[in-house]
């Protein structure tokens, strides 16, 4: 177990190092510059050198690279080119709050509604409940979240005036974005729970429990649901990916000052250090999530201890 975690951590560090290297050189290859070329050329040679030196751009690429990696090890992501005088760390720190809140709310919404729908669908297999759940599951993965967000914004926000359609000024402002993000999660979880539950309900130990005369409710809660929910942990990985992708576009649509909109903005502004910083941040977050999911799964399900897996 310890060996496994150690190997995984080494793997993670190598992966992050490769990502840092690739993004760094990709950024150097990119056409265009984050600075206003015209204004830059008007500066005297001395002032221009000083300006470039401020961002470390006067040195050869390999020195820049070494410096970048050096500061990365200390956890410093550099200074933003676009947001004057701000470090990328500070930018992320300022913006992470709304993104985290939305992500957590969407996960809670998705898990609770998804699991309940999935259980009902399996328990009332081939009834209207089941068909309804499957409809939700298919529509949920099929409607792109930005289309859903736009339609919610139009009907719920603009036509009916129920919730604010943009900005980040209070708890009410989290409703529509959370729903837009959460529907995909509901769909993934509901479908998965239904299938797991259907399988569990066919097991012999359910028949045993029923034949012992335990009430239907107790069988469902104590024997079926418990076992059906364990594998749900495994799809938390794909769920986080969909949330991460979703946040990029949902935050933009609802004008939320989170890291998703920061990433899209920095792409439009050619803000290379911020792009690199966020790429690393996202990757690290993603990789750690998957590691935690794997470890959790091993802890919760005793049949799948780490060495038992391929």
């Amino acid at each position: 177990m310890k060996r496994f975690i150690f190997l995984r951590l080494v793997n993670i560090i190598i992966t992050l190092f490769i990502i840092a290297t690739v993004t760094f050189f990709l950024m150097k290859l990119l056409p265009g510059s984050p600075f206003d070329e015209e204004r830059l050329s008007k500066l005297s040679d001395e002032a221009r050198l000083e300006f470039l030196a401020k961002y470390g751009l006067d040195q050869p690429v390999y020195v820049q690279y070494a410096k970048y990696i050096g500061s990365l090890i200390k956890g410093d992501l550099g200074i933003s080119y676009y947001y004057k005088g701000q470090t990328v760390n500070a930018l992320i720190k300022d913006r992470i709050g709304p993104s985290m809140l939305l992500g957590i709310q969407a996960v809670i919404l998705g898990l609770s509604v998804g699991i309940i729908l999935g259980i009902i669908a399996a328990y009332r297999h081939n009834t209207i409940w089941d068909y309804f759940t499957m409809l939700v599951a298919v529509l949920g993965v099929s409607i792109p979240n930005f289309v859903l967000a736009a339609i919610l914004q139009f009907y719920v926000g603009l036509q009916w005036g129920l919730f604010p359609v943009a900005y980040w000024e209070g708890y009410q402002h989290t409703f529509l974005p959370t729903i837009s993000l959460g529907v995909t999660v509901i769909a993934i979880i509901a479908r998965f729970t239904r299938n797991e539950m259907l399988e569990v309900l066919q097991q012999d130990y359910i028949l045993t429990a029923q034949s012992k005369g335990i009430s239907e409710c107790a069988v469902l809660i104590k024997h079926a649901i418990r076992n059906a929910l364990i594998p749900v942990i495994t799809i938390l990985g794909p769920v986080f990916v969909s949330l991460l992708t979703g946040s990029l576009v949902i935050e933009n649509i609802f004008s939320i000052p989170g890291i998703g909109s920061l990433f899209v903005d920095s792409i439009k502004m050619n803000d290379y250090t911020t792009i690199m910083g966020l790429t690393l941040f996202y990757s690290a977050f993603f990789i750690l999530t998957i590691l935690i999911v794997d470890l959790l799964y091993g802890i919760i399900d005793p049949r799948i201890r780490i060495h038992g897996r391929e």
């Binding site: 490769i18 298919v138 529509l139 099929s142 736009a150 914004q153 603009l158 992708t245 576009v249 899209v264």
Partner: protein, 312 residues
């Protein structure tokens, strides 16, 4: 009981005739022989949702091919005297901010979106199969190395690589396809490798070998047909996600550039003008949702029909 038995016996013995006992016909299979594909097709035909999806998909494909040509407008033709027209008898789906005909643009965009998605999925499969097959057949150190590479690639969020690649290259159809393929093949490679590994040790492969089948026959006759199902099913799931990715990129402004149309570009334009001209958002949204629903349902149907392990 007694009475019943007596009644049954009342069949006269001369109605029976001796047909004999032929050793060779005893073990004969009486049902007509069905190949795996015929069997799968029979099952798919019984799946209403999948068949309706197939029909709707065909309609959308046909419309996306002939749609742009059924009226006189082209997708890039602007007309500043006719901007933001509601759907009418002349412009069936209205016009946008440059007075371009939305019917033409919608089907042109659908065609480009489908083209990107299908091509990306095909390339994914090509690279994925090659990589997965080499990895599985070579085994040992080669396999180990190839899997480490995949592990690193899997660790990086796909979308971020795609965004970085698109920033680097000139925006356009080819760029989007390349960016999607660079990240997309990994899944397929894993799938094919897993399947071939499983097949290598399967008992019917052993049986075929024991019966004297040579390597070529085993690969073409036994391994390929058993991998193809999974490949096609996975492709059916890849296409809708590629349609989504393309639309997503165009929506955040990294996709195709004007005046080219794709579903993502149209949805983005529609979103900008949504407040007063909702129809601009509605029609491309309907098409993209129908496409995604149909591909997903069809993929589900195919999996149920062709993957015996998924059968209940």
């Amino acid at each position: 009981m007694q009475n019943m038995k007596k009644k049954e016996v009342e069949i006269p013995a001369k109605m029976f005739k001796i047909v004999g006992r032929k050793e060779e016909t005893l073990e004969e299979i009486k049902r007509s022989h069905l190949t795996g594909w015929q069997d799968g097709w029979l099952r798919l035909k019984q799946n209403k949702a999948a068949m309706i999806s197939l029909f709707v998909l065909l309609m959308i494909v046909i419309l996306s091919i002939i749609g742009p040509h059924v009226n006189t407008y082209t997708y890039q033709q602007t007309n500043y005297d006719a901007v933001y027209l509601e759907p009418n008898s002349d412009h069936w789906l209205g016009t946008d901010k440059f007075g371009r005909d939305q019917w033409t643009r919608l089907w042109e965009g659908t065609r480009i979106s489908l083209y990107i998605a299908v091509l990306a999925a095909l390339l994914d499969i090509l690279i994925g199969i090659t990589y997965g097959a080499i990895s599985a057949f070579k085994g040992g150190k080669v396999d180990h190395m190839m899997q480490r590479i995949i592990e690193i690639l899997v660790g990086i969020p796909n979308l971020i690589i795609i965004i970085l690649l698109i920033m680097m290259m000139k925006p356009g159809i080819t760029t989007i396809i390349i960016a999607m393929v660079i990240t997309g093949w990994v899944n397929m490679a894993r799938l094919v490798r897993g399947q071939i590994f499983k097949l290598k040790n399967a008992e019917y492969i052993l049986a075929a070998r024991a019966l004297g089948a040579d390597g070529r026959r085993i690969i073409i006759g036994h391994m390929l047909p058993n991998t193809l199902g999974i490949i096609i099913i996975n492709m059916m799931f890849t296409i809708p996600s590629a349609i989504f990715t393309e639309a997503f990129l165009s929506f955040i402004g990294l996709g195709l550039q004007e005046p080219l149309a794709s579903l993502g570009v149209l949805i983005n334009d529609g979103f900008q003008a949504m407040r007063n001209h909702f129809y601009l958002l509605a029609f491309p949204s309907i098409v993209i949702v129908s496409l995604m629903v149909c591909f997903n349902l069809l993929a589900d149907g195919l999996r149920d029909a062709f993957d015996p392990k998924m059968r209940n």
